[in-house]
Amino acid sequence: MNRFCDGITRRDFVRAGAIGSGFGFGLADYLRAADSPEAKSAKAKNAVFIWLGGGPSHIDTFDPKPDAPAEIRGEFKPIDTNVPGMRICEHLPKLSQLADTYSIVRGISHTLAGHELGTEYLNTGSRPIPSLVYPGYGAVISKEVAGDNELPHFVAIPSTPQKAGYLGVRYAPLQTNDAPKPGVPFSVRGISLGNGVTVDEFEKRQNLLTQLDTAFAGVEKESKLIDGMDRFAHQAFDLIRSSKARDAFDVSTEKPGVAAPFGEGRFGMSCLLALRLVTAGVRFVTVSFTGWDTHTNNFRSMQNGLLPQLDSGVSALLAGLKARGLLDSTIVYVVGEFGRTPKVNERAGRDHWPRAMTALLAGGGVKGGQALGASDAKGMGPANDGYTPDQMAATFYHALGIDHRKEYHTATGRPVMIVRDGSLIRPLFG
């Protein structure tokens, strides 16, 4: 048998072919599913990761610098929030009234100024190295936290830079590939009957199939392959015929009162879908919101599009989770790959700036109404020690009861900790 460097058989980790770990449940999972433990004593069992691709300016979002010189503080003013002393950008008015539900982490700092590397770092919590692809949060969480077998465990709206990496494609996301649009039915591949096939016709076909699929009758007792395929056949039939996953995805059926605060934009609708999926029991949902790479006309694009969408989407998500009693059991993490240069450039833009950035964390036991850490007076770097993406990841995992120091093995046998250099930011949990 092949063994890892420390003696574990590699076959235990052989990759299974599947997209969307819930549906993509491999054979071995079935054997394990029964005794898979729920996440220990942690409060959170679901997670929503909101990815602000391109890297939002920290100064123009959650780390305003009103006292800095004009070329740094930019065009926006801070506003008060419902937590005394905590101030954020004026174009986030809805979020300002929910500040008691989330914490802001300031002074997060790293050194990777390229999109690709920064993105990988912030989506995995491990600084990228060329020889290894780290699994994204969703892959780890869907591996570690047990979920509903009728639902996918890791859904990306519409897509995600997170990969299953060395954990194997079985933990890869189910990508919706599109964002829902207001009033239009929404679905993902294969789970709803399409091409005009009715339930009746589907059942008839299934009946024919049952009569014809007899070549290996009796072989299931001696072949795990055949046995597994038989189980999947039953499950697939139920899944396609039943409405659970289909209903969860179809945001068009949401009550108007619930849907309205999310707005009609792609991001808002995606947040609404995230809310529905978490409500149905999907463990990990990530929403990607790109466009934050504001090298030119930073203020115009922020004010006219990015900030209002962010404001509506995230605030409606937090309010929705709270209203459904899910905020305690769902951690929400909002971040991009880096901050942006404090100094405004000659094109009224801001460039890449990994030395200082901010993130927002809410729910799942995270104490709201705090602003942890700080950047220096000009937003150039952390004021004190600062925080690392690794610490943020460790904290995110901690909320879900996942020990970030747990070791996995890569396909080639190398032992790797989930987050290599992480440590918990305790004050976040009050």
Partner: protein
């Protein structure tokens, strides 16, 4: 004498000095010599370090951890003699040896996190105490090197669970001295459902079947096959079994020992489907099935094999397989200004391999074209080189990349930037060996030490993809709009690709391969790595004075081509075997290591020797394997082989590979015209072809092939390809819009029928069966199908249901 046929060829290397075991010249085992008040002093390398390994001190969870444990650190799994000796000295009190931490802690006289490892006064304790009392000397320059490990008995045959057998391990050193090292060895079983082994080398029978137990001492590894027959069909009770080929003889020789009787021969329909899928990744066409079934020529199976090997689909599928393990993916193309070409480069890589597989270029030659690839020819100027490279990327009439003698993209990948990464990828691709562990420490289950890794890595030192001549680079950029642009900017990358497409000549990076100069007088030949000079050494072979070669990689290639190379031919033979049987003779197929012997070593030897003797003829290999009765056995089990998935007594059911699944859906539902078109150029038109190295799809097949476990080619592991079933795969075939659309596509069979006047429903049902399952329906199936068709609202929709149902049978997705 050790019978060489009992050993794998790699074991032969370690056991280079076969010796008869006689009690007279073998030193007694340590547990006897150190039982009481011993007076002799144990040796650091022969006794002390192996003992620590056996006690578990240098394991990863203990003092072998890279941070050490409790302030005491040993090299992981041993073999760093100097640092281990220094660390041990810290744990010994040489004045009052009994007060040493190294004796107090493992006996729990002082608290020890690792628990009790030995008892005071026992031989282990005495051995360490004696060593300390004698001055705790380390490994000396004059100490004879460890040479071989030999274990008796050579094979263990049990008859029922509960039986035991004791192993005896004899080590031999370079000076000829020998010792019974049984109490100093580590032991392992490869399958504890067949046999377990305890710390004293006693093997316990636990169940029927066969496996190997493994013995480790120093960097010696020996395996002993253990078996217990599965039935009473043994000796004269074993039935007469045909063994028309050498493969069959070797397979049945082992089955006889196990009491396993092979299954019957497969049916013609089963054989045709299986061999078509394995050799060409293609479902046989309906006419082909029909004519094969009615063909009465006695050697029609052999003829069919030759016919398949001549088809373009054979080259298309095997170019994909070779692209898998050599790591051809657009994702790993070089970063920087040429990044926009990475998809083209993945295509070029494929084309280059495809051409050679198609022409049946010898495998060693094909590999040499990658392993010794160069960018710029020695006589070629940089400008001419750029001219050549640019010519492959122009849109109009691009030059033929596949005609290039060598294929450098293997080396220019972004994941091969470091010499260590090159060595790891090289060893995985061409040797089937994983060196990953030895990169940092002694390999726990193979012979490789960190020094072996460093010395092997030295062959690749200085091979890198880097900038070309600076002045000419600047000159070429002039006037193109590239000057002044940052090569890492998206703008540059886009522009670079666009200009090339327009036919411009642009500056390319080039693969630098150091041209070795003669070592200066007085210096040691070798490769400078940091401040150290490392002499390149072949894996398990000789040190090489690199200066005598122009290309430092040349000696590795020469070594691989030698008839007795333990890895090169075997790795490919084993991968081909794994494709044809769903499991390698060595499994996993990329894990050639001493502790992981082949299920049938004689068979692997025979095929590897034959492959070399054939001149590395890939078609010889395929032909030899698929013409064997063993390959052509039925999947239907008998009472003796129901649970055999290891000894080749029947065909093992396996899910089709990802690309083949998708293609099979397309082929099964294609009109006759479309089928002809696809068969004519599978490399260009099918998923088993050229697009296999692309990230993201050529069309919308990406989802499906990812779902079914197509390898990403991102890591050095054959395990990237998965043939495990999963729920979403079933959902896909049942209900994915892509599959539903394929049924009704304009080029599809259903549309063709709608236009034709064919109304004989029995014939249509037969055609559906032939298309999807490559066989004719039996009477019951015909009846059921017929009934469904007559209850459907029209023939077309009835046939659609039938096609759907057949595509969703397990029989379709399984190679049987």
């Amino acid at each position: 004498m050790i019978s060489p046929t009992r050993l794998t060829a790699f074991a032969v290397i370690v056991l280079a000095i076969p010796t008869a075991v006689s009690a007279a010249d073998v030193a007694a085992p340590a547990h006897e010599r150190f039982k009481g008040e011993a007076t002799e002093s144990p040796s650091f390398q022969r006794h002390v370090l192996p003992l620590l390994g056996r006690l578990g001190c240098n394991g990863r969870a203990c003092h072998g951890s890279f941070q050490g444990q409790g302030g005491f650190r040993l090299s992981l799994f041993g073999y760093d003699f100097a640092s281990d000796h220094a660390a041990l000295l810290d744990r010994f009190n040489l004045k009052t040896a009994t007060d040493s931490l190294m004796l107090l802690k493992p006996t729990l006289q002082e608290a020890h996190k690792g628990g009790k490892r030995m008892a005071t006064g026992e031989w282990e304790y005495n051995l360490l105490l004696r060593w300390a009392k004698a001055g705790a000397k380390g490994a000396g320059e004059k100490d004879a090197a460890f040479a071989t490990l030999e274990v008796e008995p050579k094979e263990i045959s049990f008859t029922k669970p509960g039986e035991t057998a004791k192993l005896r391990a004899i080590a031999t050193w370079a000076d000829g001295s020998r010792e019974d090292v049984t109490p100093l060895c580590r032991f392992r079983t490869n399958d504890d459902s067949v046999a377990t082994i305890d710390d004293n080398g006693i093997v316990h029978a636990t169940g029927r079947g066969d496996t190997a137990v493994v013995v480790f001492y120093d960097n010696g590894i020996a395996t002993v096959p253990v078996l217990m027959p599965l039935s009473d069909r043994l000796g004269s009770n074993y039935p007469a079994v045909p063994t028309p080929t050498k493969i069959d003889e070797l397979v049945v020789a082992k089955l006889r020992k196990l009491g396993i009787v092979p299954s019957e021969l497969s049916t013609d329909a089963e054989f045709l489907r299986r061999v078509s899928l394995d050799l060409t990744g293609t479902l046989p066409a309906t006419d082909e099935v029909r004519s094969f079934l009615t063909d009465t020529t006695p050697n029609k199976r052999a003829k069919k094999i030759d016919e398949l090997l001549a088809r373009p689909a054979y080259a298309a599928w095997w170019a994909t397989k070779i692209s898998d393990f050599t790591g051809n993916t657009e994702r790993n193309g070089p970063l920087g200004g040429e990044q926009g070409l990475n998809r083209d480069k993945a295509g070029q890589w494929y084309d280059w391999v495809y051409r050679r597989v198609k022409e049946n270029e010898p495998y060693d030659k094909l590999v040499a074209g990658m392993a010794l690839a160069i960018g710029r020819r020695p006589e070629q100027s940089y400008a001419d080189y750029c001219d050549e490279m640019s010519s492959y990327f122009r849109k109009d009439n691009p030059a033929d990349f596949a005609a290039r003698p060598t294929m450098p993209h293997f080396w220019t990948r972004r994941t091969l930037g470091k010499t260590e990464e090159q060595a790891l990828a090289f060893a995985h691709a061409f040797l089937g060996v994983s060196l990953q562990c030895a990169q940092c420490h002694k390999h726990p289950y193979d012979q490789w030490t960190k020094q072996d890794f460093d010395q092997f890595t030295a062959f690749f030192s200085g091979v890198r993809y880097g900038a070309g001549n600076r002045t000419e680079t600047q000159a070429m950029k002039k006037g193109t709009g590239l000057e002044g642009l940052d090569e890492d900017s998206g703008n540059y990358k886009r522009k670079f690709a666009e200009l090339l497409a327009d036919g411009k000549v642009l500056p390319f990076k080039e693969l630098h391969v150091p041209q070795n100069q003669k070592p200066r007088p007085g210096t040691k030949p070798g490769v400078r790595v940091g401040s150290r000079v490392i002499t390149p050494k072949l894996l398990g072979g000789e040190e090489v004075v690199n200066a005598s070669y122009t290309d430092p990689r040349q000696p590795v290639m020469d070594w691989m081509r030698q008839a007795d190379n333990p890895y090169f031919a075997r790795a490919f033979v084993n991968r081909v075997w794994a494709n044809h049987f769903g499991r390698g003779l060595i499994a996993p197929p990329d894990d050639l290591n001493l502790a992981n012997p082949a299920s049938n070593p004689e068979l692997l030897d025979y095929l590897a020797r034959g492959f070399v003797a054939s001149g590395f003829d890939m078609k010889w290999l395929h032909r030899t394997i698929t013409n064997s009765r063993t390959y052509q056995l039925s999947w239907r089990a008998n009472d003796t082989n129901r649970h055999d998935e290891r000894n080749l007594s029947r065909a093992v059911l396996r899910r089709l590979p990802a690309e083949i699944v998708f293609d099979a859906v397309v082929l099964a539902t294609a009109s006759d015209d479309e089928r002809k078109r696809l068969d004519a150029d599978p490399a260009a038109l099918r998923v088993i072809g050229r697009s296999s190295g692309f990230a993201g799809g050529r069309s919308n097949d990406t989802y499906a092939v990812t779902l079914f476990g197509k390898p990403q080619r991102a890591t050095n592991c054959d395990c990237e390809r998965s043939d495990e079933p999963a729920l979403l795969q079933t959902v896909y075939l049942r209900n994915d819009p892509e599959v539903l659309k394929l049924l009704d596509r304009p080029e599809g069979w259903l549309k063709q029928l709608a236009k034709s006047k064919q109304t004989d429903s029995d014939e249509l049902i037969r055609q559906a069966y032939l298309r999807v399952l490559s066989r004719l329906p039996d009477d019951r199936e015909l009846q059921v199908s017929h009934k469904h068709l007559s209850s459907a609202k029209d023939t077309q929709s009835g046939l659609r249901d039938l096609l759907w149902a057949l595509l969703n049978t397990k029989e379709f997705i399984v190679n049987r």
